[in-house]
Amino acid sequence: MTSVIAVARKELRQIVRDRRTLMILAFVPAFFLLVFGYALNFDVRNIALAVEDRDGTSESRALISAFVNSGYFNLAGVVHDPRAAEWMLDRNQARAVLVIPEGFGRTVTTGGTAPVQVIVNGDNANTATAVVGYATSILQTASAEFSGRAGLWAPPAGAVPQPVSVEPRIWYNPELRSALFLVPGLIAYLTMLMSVTSTALSIVREKESGTIEQVRMAPVGTFPFILGKTAPYFGISLVSAALVFLAAQLLFGLPMRGSWLTLGAAFSVYLLGALATGLLVSTIAETQQVAFQIALLVSLLPTLMLSGFIFPIASMPEFLQAITRVVPARYFLVALRGIVLKGTAASHLLPELGALAIYAAAVLGLASLRLAKDRA
């Protein structure tokens, strides 16, 4: 135990001497959260809509205002021929084009069915899906209104016009703000990145400067040495994680519906696993350059792509889903989103917390083994 403290004290002294790195480790995650949290946004609003109104009656204008007043569409321009509409789609000046045919007003007032065309730019499938959904529901409502006005089919007052309808209720995130989904992911991502890169360089640095020889001679067991190396970074990472979390609450209104104790436990095992990953990298790499590259490769890409941060794991092909099982952020994200958004109790999160603990223990063990082999 005393040797752990001795190693930790030595490491801490080294960290404190390098003020700039300390500042980067502590504050950069919160700063990144500020910028990227605002930038990462899936909410589809202000869709630029071009309108080709070949009718020009009060009915066609009513339909256009139904789109604009929905709050989802902005009128980007009125065009008079299809080529102009195409031009606007090509140049990203419009994301959707509403085409109202000639005779639209006459048809709907006399009880006929008028075709209305909506052309959607599908390049971004995600946005396009939302646009199609909004356009469909606006057109349905308008359709019902027009037929009601035409006196053809007046729904009885107060009744539901459809024989079957669905009343959706959304739990945990009723306004469906994508920030509440993405910010926890960003927290997991930033803390992972910072923790891995901080420890990834620590042992390699000793290798490069030659002080590893002294460590080899020192009367410290391998495991106490690893623990002592990790402890100071663990403290810094916890502070940094707390800053990021508070920033997320202040800036993005991230709720906290569960227990702080569970949150602290989840953060602790997750950070421990991340720091251990960095140490393992550090024992493998010979130079800081290699260590940094490997650290980025094992922390940046999988945490971004395979953790469920942005892309739902359920939609991935089977073989990738299998790979996501060794990505610690996957488990941490389930726990974090559960605690913060759903108020899930620790007892329901045991599988996730257990997986994180196993990951941390396994990687710490591997790192000790590698280092022990080096020292032997």
Binding site: F42, A114, V120, G122, D123, N126, V160, V166, I310
Partner: protein
């Protein structure tokens, strides 16, 4: 004339030297070839926001043939998978809380009777809003499915009542999706990889190659050779430019032949503009190398202050138009932003130079500014 030849020869020797150094470092070869393929695989397979097989739990409080028919409709749809059927609404809660079901559908008692007698039946759906993006899509599917069911009911009823033309509504909505009719997010993400890979490979490698010479002191030796400064810079950067060209071909080939992303525009236009973009990223690498003393600094600077902001703020992941105004302003200085519009335009929309010239001009302007900055900085350092 002979001096011109000699100068050309010097440049060639310098490029050859750089290639020899690249070859001596097998890890570098790994980064150049493996990194693009790894990223393509991850982005091609993992980066999908498509929602299918939504897990749904049904609380069937009715247990009638009508309710079973509705559940059957959900199960038959490729958008949904019914994972469990329970009887009371309270039973669905653990499913939603643990995230095993994204949507819980409650069919109240008396649903079958309502359908039989023609009273409007109201179903309740509870959706887990945690993943707002997927939930929006899933609710859209549910509404559409129930809407279709409702329409069929109306039709059978009016047929039974002897009405020949059931109310089709005043508007016949014809929604068409251009450029990506199947709405596959892969088609959107993969062209973006081209932009990302070129940035990662060329900017990073070029920066580190120059800083390495600084660190081991060989830059001083190069400085005292009769090489002109532009020759030195060109000789160091050109090999990485060639690697960039290799990556352009590699990524385009994998995108088109493996992931079957349509390349609707001209390949040569794509290739030419990619070359311009590679010049920009090389210039960025040069700039990073002039402001860094050690390889570690170069890597940190490149990764944290250039690569990460570029990935997040360029529109690679999320549309720029969704970002707040302040951040939208920042995106204008990111070259990736312009290049993404270009690659996606050429791949998916098949547009040409007439549409893309503003982006090309912005890219060229950006490159010019960065090259001048880098040359100004390096003139202070090298001479």
């Amino acid at each position: 004339m002979s001096s011109d030849f000699a100068r050309g020869g010097r440049l060639r020797v310098l490029i050859w030297k750089e290639f020899l150094e690249i070859r001596m470092n097998p890890r570098l070869f790994g980064i150049v070839v493996v990194a693009p393929i790894l990223q393509l695989a991850m982005l091609g397979y993992a980066a999908t926001t498509d929602v299918k097989d939504v897990p749904i739990v049904v609380a069937d409080g009715d247990r009638s043939s009508a309710s079973r028919e509705l559940i059957q409709r959900f199960d038959a749809s490729r958008n949904f998978t019914v994972i469990a059927t329970v009887t009371t609404v309270t039973e669905v809660e653990p499913f939603v809380e643990s995230g095993t079901a994204w949507i819980a559908l409650a069919i109240p008692a008396g649903h079958g009777a309502d359908i039989a007698t023609g009273r409007p039946a109201v179903l309740q759906a509870v959706a887990d809003g945690t993943d707002s993006n997927s939930t929006t899509a899933a609710l859209g599917y549910a509404t559409a499915l129930i809407g279709g069911y409702a329409r069929e009911l109306v039709e059978t009823r009016s047929a039974a009542a002897g009405i020949s033309r059931p109310d089709a509504g005043a508007i016949d909505a014809r929604i068409r999706v251009w450029f990506n009719p199947q709405l596959e997010s892969r088609h959107f993400m993969i062209p973006g990889v081209l932009a990302l890979v070129l940035l990662l490979v060329t900017a990073n490698l070029a920066a580190m190659a120059i800083v390495r010479e600084k660190e081991i002191g060989t830059l001083e030796q190069l400085n005292v050779t009769p090489l002109r400064r532009w020759e030195l810079i060109a000789g160091k950067l050109l090999p990485y430019g060639l690697i960039g060209i290799l990556d352009i071909l590699l990524v385009t080939a994998v995108a088109v032949f493996w992931f079957e992303v349509p390349l609707r525009g001209s390949f040569w236009l794509l290739f030419t503009i990619s070359l311009l973009y590679v010049l920009c990223t090389l210039a960025l690498g040069l700039l990073v190398s002039t402001i860094s003393e050690t390889q570690q600094q170069a890597m940190m600077t490149a990764t944290f202050f250039f690569l990460m902001p570029m990935i997040y703020l360029s529109g690679f992941m999320t549309p720029i138009e969704n970002m707040p105004e302040v951040i939208q302003c920042i995106t204008y200085v990111i070259p990736l932003r312009y290049f993404l519009v270009i690659v996606r335009g050429i791949f998916l929309k098949g547009v040409g130079f007439a549409v893309l010239w503003p982006q090309v001009a912005a890219l060229a302007a950006w490159g010019t500014v960065v090259v001048s900055l880098a040359v100004m900085r390096s003139s202070k350092r090298l001479d």
